[in-house]
Symmetry: C3
Subunit: 427 residues, 3 copies
């Protein structure tokens, strides 16, 4: 994952620009295939409009002593993203209205965007601002707003069902890596793993600039809405922090519960928060007005380097990326394999007769081939009774497992339920 | 309000009597109009019967020494309301069976009724009872039970909808003022305010004797039941006490929630109690068997002078009446203006494009014309996302506001929701 | 109850055997009538099969010194129920694999079954095991597995409705008395009491061996399933312990609530537990997969002599049996008499007019013939209002009573509700 991440991160990826295309081509190369959708500047997408393409070549603030700051060539974050061009000499008072810095991170260049405000601006580390001297400053930004095309990359893994699970990551945030190239490379790895097996749902992975990318794609694919089952968004997965699960709007849908289950099993600690109260992102489109499909958002937010030039490869730990990828893979596979078992038997199943009875009294497994944790034999014995009743023709296996937890916190694993379900299927 | 109150309170207002008609004529004079319904004695109203008219001219208890007590001419409460006539000499033992007093308020004449018990009786202050002397007492009550008509005053403000909001106050309780003339004058003021504007619902204000008045009117207007949406009852609003909200039977209907909201906004303190656990009154008809329309009951109950001769103009504070009137007016107007917005947009609204975006990061309103409390910009930003989703075609604006509170206690005002709703209506 | 109990308990009652028939004949004698169903060995009942008949005449373990232990003639529990026959000499190591004891009760012979495992075995008190000496042991069990018939006794009390309440007790557990002959004799007494009166539901009392007996009967009477309303199971009612109510699977059905109500009224203390977490038994069939009729399970579980030779008449207290019988009788009668009152009146009932009004102010019953607890007059007055509203055409009397408790914990008894209901029926 790290090598793709190192290729992608330095690009000046934002809403519409040449580097966005470069990024998608790199992803396509890695995956072998990728459909790239193009939405032209000015195109109406619901209440939104596709913005102009923004290109920048050079910038500086020159003091009277000739010292230069805010050079784009040195770091893309030195210019406010979508800044207007400028070429004039200004007094310090005027300059200050166009300067952005981050007091808490004096060595870092902050990340500022003015997508819809038509203003010019520079971003400087606090330590650079302290070096600005003199009365007059030459300010120069060689940028242009021209017609272009917003690009969205789509990779589909066709499953046996036409129901779609949407997986979204962001390609924007210029010269930053955890936000959100860490999500992109995790998605690429997930695709490689998932396409090897056979899947029930159809998975659509989307690589796009935040918000407007999802608005563009979804508004031009409204016919897919009825087929979307749920969604996952993820980003900021490489830094050292526990996972943060941001729930769907409803908050207690199956994808929410599966995510809670996997995080509970696979991590020491994790945090969970309500819809939009974590790193709010594209879930607002897919789980938003008129679409309303539950979408969770997984990250390791927050981290101190967020939205600054310090969000660089040094803060990425590959082990974190792998752990997050494995968690996402588990969530998807539990979701994908979940089925509603149809009860064929009437009355309690003759467990003793089929070698499935767990002896409760002697706290051991008597003539049983179901592996049991010795200490919990009594509760596992009862859990089988509950499972037999919970198989009612409308509960899925995960929902049965969840009902065991919610009803009485039975100490059984999801595999225990799967194992039993597999054995009684033959009766 | 005070001058109407001073006119109305001295009357011997009870179930059926001449003073009830006088009271309704005074209200009609004040309002310019009032429909007066008449229900004759003996008329069957559901399981009830309209009682006889009761008139009294004079009464006394005369001791052997010629001293007189319990003179009706001195105070109407001296005679048990609906007392039988009496004219005989009795021993103290017999007299005691017909004497009523209030040990806790030794200077006050208590208020006692025997509507359906066919007995005679006097009500005396404890200090008067202590002065009764001798063995024999002449007891005299010149009262009569004759056929008459129970009167109900109805004032209708026609709204654009035929759905009805019922507003009920009581005209009974002889020579008492807080209970419940304070409610009558508040209703009169509300009518004057509300009829100036244009309203959605149709409002029916009822001025009637407690319980039997509502039973009579509702039983003779059964065809209106399907059109009744909800109701408000109020009384005892002039004394110095916090408001007491008595909930409807269901307890969590829209009128309950709006009342809680307004009381929370407009008062320092208030109390709330379950159905019938405050000053139980006419809600038992409208929110009762076979009708079942939610009716709240607002008062400042209890107060020490309740149901005695000390419930007089001295305990009425006009500021209290005005505060209660304003609260009732707010409740009605929020209810009246509440509408279900129909979402016209799909996807999240392009807030930045319409100058409605609240910037969360810098904790300030960036390029936005929505007024915000600076400290809460982050949560207000998220609240807009939630609102956009909560507009789903079946939630009203107040319900959206309430869902924001219940889901996550967002620090936004009802006006914030209204303001946003007004702005996106044009999209 | 004690004399029937003394007759029944010594029998070697298990799944299929001659003593099961003797037991059912004794019950039939006591009741005057009993239908005995017969299900032959090998018969398929859902996923189960009727086991073979097991008969045993003699057994012993003989030490080298001629001393004998484990003699069936001395106590039926000395041989594992359904043990294979054996007749050979074994070393101590092999013997130990077939010996069962209870370390916690060193003087007691434990109760062990091997219904479906095809093994031989002895059960000895710990103190006997300590006396086994020598190297070689002669082991002898004269038992046989032959075709037979599983027997189920059914006693029906026909009510006016075809809806069925199932009452189940177990006839198995050889030579033990609390488990579960105490349940059998309680059921016999209940039948004698209930058949005297006229009942709404039809009651089917089943006397059967645990689990397989219910599986056999229910699988051969599937047409009755739609007519079953709910069920009661009980056992272990003679020992000194509080009652334990094991709830139905749903846990909050009417029979659950009635049982909680009666136990709350009639006992100082009782315990309640979830489905299958008490003495799990035949509720797993009637409240189990495909049947799903709520069945409660009442016992005084646990007790130290459980599943040992010490479960003998000495631990039975007849007063306990009578108390349990009375509780079960109350549960059944409240269930049986519960009806949905149909409201005939509209508006609140004219309580004063019918002598039913409870005066709240003076804390006494004024002109009322409804007996009231003086202290609670205020809340009882309000309770009548709530009852009038709760009579809505779909709530039963017990449900109205329960709603009064759940809504606001009104201090009224079930009889108060019944009394009021009887009086307003005439209006």
């Amino acid at each position: 994952m790290i090598s793709l991440l190192r290729q992608l991160y330095p690009l000046n990826r934002h809403l519409v620009g040449n580097d966005n295309e470069k990024a998608l081509q790199m992803i396509k190369m890695e995956l072998g295939d990728l459909t790239i959708h193009k939405y032209p500047t000015g195109m109406q997408c619901w209440t939104w409009r596709i913005p102009e393409k923004w290109e920048i070549t050079s910038s500086y603030i020159e003091c009277e002593n000739g010292q230069r700051f805010g050079e784009f060539e040195k770091h893309p974050l030195h210019v406010v993203t979508y800044s207007l061009p400028v070429d004039k000499t200004v007094l310090r008072e005027e300059l200050d209205l166009h300067l952005h810095t981050n007091e808490k991170q004096p060595d870092a260049i902050p990340y500022v965007t003015k997508y819809y405000e038509r203003d010019w601006g520079f971003c400087l580390a606090k330590k650079d601002i302290d070096q600005l001297s003199g009365k007059n400053f030459k300010v120069f930004i060689d940028a242009m707003h021209v017609p272009g095309e917003l690009l969205v990359g789509e990779y589909t893994i066709q499953g046996e069902s036409d129901q779609i699970v949407i997986v979204v990551t962001n390609i924007c945030h210029p010269a930053q890596v955890n936000d959100s190239i860490s999500g992109v490379v995790t998605a690429v790895d997930l695709i490689k793993i998932l396409k090897k097996g056979s899947l029930h749902y159809t998975y659509k992975f989307l690589f796009l600039p935040e918000t407007i990318g999802s608005v563009a794609w979804m508004s031009q694919n409204e016919s897919l809405i009825p087929r979307i089952y749920c969604g996952l968004f993820f980003e900021m997965l490489g830094n050292d922090n526990d996972h943060l699960l941001q729930h769907s709007f409803e908050g207690n849908t199956k994808i929410d519960k599966i995510a809670l289950h996997v995080l509970g099993q696979k991590t020491e600690n994790f945090r969970a928060t309500e819809f939009r109260k974590g790193p709010a992102s594209d879930e607002m489109i897919f789980d938003g007005p008129g679409i309303n499909k539950p979408m969770i958002n997984l990250s390791r937010f927050p981290y101190p380097e967020y939205h600054t030039s310090m969000d660089s490869p040094e803060i990425i730990n590959e082990e974190n990326l792998k752990e997050s990828r494995d968690i996402l893979c588990d969530i998807i596979l539990i979701l994908d394999r979940d089925r509603i078992p149809v009860p064929k038997f009437k009355g309690p199943v003759f467990l003793s007769g089929y070698g499935m009875w767990i002896h409760w009294e002697e706290n051991r497994c008597k003539n049983s081939t179901i592996p049991v944790n010795e200490d919990n034999a009594y509760l596992r014995n009862i859990a089988l009774d509950y499972i037999m009743i919970l198989i009612n023709g409308y509960r899925s296996i995960f929902e049965i497992y969840n009902a065991l937890k919610e009803k009485s916190n039975f100490p059984v694993e999801l595999d225990f339920v799967y194992n039993f379900m597999g054995r009684i299927r033959q009766l």
